[in-house]
Amino acid sequence: MAKSIDVSGVDIFYGSFKAVEDVSMTIEPRSVTAFIGPSGCGKSTVLRTLNRMHEVIPGARVEGKVLLDGEDIYGSQVDPVNVRRTIGMVFQKPNPFPTMSIYDNVVAGLKLAGRTRKAQTDEVVERSLRGANLWEEVKDRLAKPGSSLSGGQQQRLCIARAIAVSPQVLLMDEPCSALDPISTLAIEDLISELKERYTIVIVTHNMQQAARVSDRTGFFNLNGVGQPGRLIEMDDTQKIFSNPSNKRTEDYITGRFG
């Protein structure tokens, strides 16, 4: 189910502005990879290229190769819609569909994929909400609107929505930055459970969070304002936080800048 991602020589543009330069990395299946780095270094941009969400912005484009289990997701025959069905995403700000019930939010992706037999969807809703550690809290009010939940619950609802379609990979763009510490803890626990089944990539501003949840960590940085961001170093999380090979990584994680 979980797949590996191979990124090689990727440049990312917004119009004529090169936002990220020459990123190459390998992401193992059933692992958690964290992207850290200062604001504007392009870590979210790189994340969004992994499921072709980057090109949603007018003028944005990507050069280079991103292989999902060996298949280039930027190949000319590839439909971005199918890529996004295979690679789920959770955003910074919880974004359940406000007019839909909790139930309908979870099955929204299934409906798009055309898999909506009632008996089946009931099962998927329960499984996904259990998977997102939300089932016990909402099982009695599945018909209530998704916007009636607290911020942390909404974010877990979004995770349930993303895993309901059984993606191969789950991308998370600062999923806890809008949440309080208790909700953050709930999401972090969830990430550790989810990695049994999914390949997870998470962008975070919180270095402790990266250290807690991830197996591998990539550090991004840029040389100055207006310069493209780069992947400075990528290694096992333990090594990055104890003995990084690059001086700039060490400066960042020890709080000397950023």
Partner: protein, 331 residues
């Protein structure tokens, strides 16, 4: 305490007074006072004008209504200056509502389509140009629409009307009974003209509503693997529903009062009929435009009474649109 400024009067702060007392005084600066009364006057003028219109309409309508020997609400003919005076708004009300609602039904899908195309499909430059042209439709004078409808559109609708008669004639609305070739000075043609005239307002309000769809909602749908149309269905349309509804109602309100274009197109007949493709029909506004020149004293009062009805209907429609918007905001 006596030197403390009081609520009513602003005192000039003296040098030896502690500064804290400056914030406890309710000092009204002259500029504020002038602006306040100017704004108040402007607001009051609107109310006075509204009240004056209502009073004028009622004052002139009542004597004519007293002379009327027919049922004002249901009678379908208009002979206020006959003896005895007989007139009623039956036909006017029927055709006004019919043409306006039909116009709204025709215009709504087209306007929403244009708005969606402009906001989510067209390349940026094309979308600006198209939006500009749609807004330009609103700048065309209504007499021009009338002439165009009468001289250009009506003769060219014959084929469509005959097609609808042939295949959908079992629905009374599309059934064309006379044996001659239709020349389309009909409520149906009037509705089409009205639809074009209210297209810009529905489309531009819808466009603004669709632009306000939060980016997170759009991205949530796309990230789930939605195609563009599926994204519109899951994120854009639910968000825009109330706004589009109120846009449609505002368009309806505009169609209700439209005069010149409708007057030119309809071949006036006061008989209520379901067969909208046949010649005939008359609306509140077209009736006033047609009859005002020849009306006597009772006739004028009768027309004013019908104008009062249109005023009330339009007011109610616009009020409903506001209500829909407000309910959306509180939800």
């Amino acid at each position: 305490m006596s030197e403390q400024p009081t609520l009513g009067g602003a005192t000039t702060p003296s040098v030896d007074r502690p500064q804290a007392s400056n914030i406890s005084g309710a000092s009204v600066r002259p500029g504020d006072r002038v602006f306040r009364s100017a704004a108040l006057t402007a607001g009051a003028i609107v109310l006075v004008v509204m009240a004056a219109i209502a009073v004028f309409l009622v004052y002139r309508a009542v004597p004519a209504l007293r002379d009327n020997t027919a049922n004002f609400l249901t009678f379908q003919q208009w002979f206020p200056d006959n003896d005895p005076s007989t007139f009623g708004i039956g036909a006017l009300l029927y055709f006004t509502v019919l043409t306006s609602v039909l116009a709204m039904i025709i215009a709504l899908p087209v306007a929403v389509g244009i708005a969606l195309f402009i906001t989510y499909y067209a390349p940026r430059r094309a979308s600006q140009t198209l939006g500009y042209f749609v807004d330009l439709l609103a700048a065309v004078p209504s007499i021009v629409y009338g002439l165009w409808g009468f001289a250009f559109l009506a003769p060219r609708m014959t084929g469509l009307v005959q097609f609808m008669d042939k295949y959908f004639g079992w629905i009374p609305l599309f059934d064309y009974r006379p044996t001659n070739v239709p020349n389309n000075l009909s409520p149906f043609t009037a509705s089409v003209i009205l639809a074009i005239m209210i297209l810009p307002i529905i489309s531009s309000i819808s466009r603004e509503v669709f632009r306000q769809v939060p980016r997170e909602q759009v991205e949530a749908a796309l990230a789930l693997g939605a195609t563009r149309w599926e994204m519109i269905r899951t994120a854009v349309l639910p968000f825009g529903r109330a706004g589009v509804t109120s846009a449609a109602i505002l368009g309806l309100g505009r169609a209700l009062g439209e005069t010149l274009a409708v007057t030119l197109v309809l071949s006036t007949a006061y008989e209520v009929s379901l067969h909208i493709t046949e010649n005939g029909g008359v609306t509140f506004a077209s009736n006033i435009a047609l009859k005002y020149g020849e009306a006597g004293e009772v006739g004028t009062g009768a027309l004013i009474a019908s104008g009062l009805c249109l005023f009330v209907i339009t007011l109610a429609v616009n009020f409903t649109a506001n209500l829909v918007i407000r309910r959306q905001r509180s939800a």
